[in-house]
Symmetry: C2
Subunit: 256 residues, 2 copies
């Protein structure tokens, strides 16, 4: 493993990559404990970073994002959504202290030359169900883990700001887009749905008001309870009405 | 004028620019006739394009967008909003037919070499009041005009798609953000506000429903009518409540 990654770094050839442009992925995972962010540690580097990489010279940027995420983490997410491009001159660029690390080749090597240029990076995000999304590190990656949003380790470069921008985008979207089809089991209770919204918004919502507003949007199907002695005590189960859900995804919830 | 622009093209030095990255601005103007887009024609080029340009090697991308727009059109808009980055390999790149144009230097000149590379472009948008935004072309620009959104001329490259993406973003936003503070006079009637929303959404809104929903958001101040004989016939005038408006801009209208 170490040899494979050292070889890859030694043989790094930047002539197939778009210079100065990178991609970073904010993969937001949800479970009953709340929101998590997928972070990784490259071999030989001290700090945590987001899964990221570069664009091939003949590759569309959106396709590069899907490929980069799969290479780093094994996750295949065809619907990564671009959310912002970070173009400050000082993004906390790659610096010499990292080059001292054992695994990286010397400062004049092609990969160090490459990494120390100015990068403008485009952020992509996805919301996934953590239980169905087990990341597996590639040969460049030492570890690849879900970390709680509220207890993130230090992230290198401007990656914390990239995470914050992605979370703000998701919170904004939840107000005008239905979210959740990837985050909940096929059938779920109103309480589970509310808990998802509360995790994303990080605030408590009033139960009856939430239920009234969500049902009025018309994208939930309610299922009949099974007729057993105790069934009347069990909560109703709901599922997403695919057609209505996709229609709302396209046009937003809207207030007008 | 011609000499100045020809000199600028001959003396073009790309070593001060970030390679492969450009900026395009979608400036959406509103008047009583509806939405308009600011387009321009470079001297010696056949087609219409959006105001755009490049990023200096020591310049933040957001600052470059403000500078580029001001250079091309004279408009100083400090609050350009980034909305999307366009990263397809084939964006309808700069091609040889343009080089044939009278004004441009030969194919091996630095500027032609520069223009024919692959560019990833970041789109910025702003909504402005056309009556207060008179564009003035710079020395590279032959004409710079407001064109009706519904009757745009052919645009070069993928610039029509960039406009469509910006309009979709604005229509989406109007459902969760207050818009209008730059687009209306300080005091306006409910009818003028509704007309702005109808222009952006391109559909008629029901009058009493619109008024009820907008007022419920709490960001409009209603002004007393002056006591004259006919005042009761005049419509109420409204203005934006700056504090409440800015608060909603930050957090969105929300449905929860």
């Amino acid at each position: 493993m170490v040899n494979q990654s050292q070889d890859a770094l030694k043989n790094f050839d930047p002539s197939f990559l778009v210079p100065g442009q990178s991609i970073d992925c904010v993969i937001i995972g949800y479970n009953e404990m709340g929101l998590h962010i997928l972070v990784l540690k490259w071999k030989g580097m001290a700090g945590w970073i987001l899964p990221g990489g570069f664009i091939g010279i003949g590759e569309d940027m959106d396709a590069a994002a899907v490929r980069v995420l799969e290479e780093r983490t094994g996750l295949k997410l065809p619907y990564l959504k671009q959310f912002h491009t970070f173009g400050k001159v000082d993004r906390g660029n790659f610096n010499a202290e990292l080059v001292e690390a054992d695994m990286l080749p010397g400062r004049s090597s092609p990969i160090i030359q490459w990494l120390t240029q100015r990068f403008i990076t485009t952020g992509y995000l996805s919301l996934v169900n953590m239980k169905e999304s087990m990341p597996t590190p590639d040969f460049l990656t030492e570890r690849c883990l879900w970390k709680p949003l509220n207890d993130l380790p230090d992230l290198m470069f401007d990656h914390r700001q990239i995470v914050q921008t992605a979370i703000a985008e998701i919170r904004n979207q939840i107000n005008y887009m239905p979210v959740g089809i990837n985050l909940l089991p096929e059938k779920f209770t109103m309480r589970e749905l509310q808990s998802l919204y509360e995790s994303i918004l990080e605030r408590a919502l009033e139960r009856s008001n939430f239920q009234k507003k969500i049902l009025r949007l018309g994208y939930l199907n309610r299922h009949e309870k099974k007729m057993t002695g105790e069934a009347h005590k069990a909560p109703f189960l709901y599922s997403f009405d695919g057609d209505k859900y996709n229609q709302l995804l396209g046009q937003g919830l809207g207030f007008l």
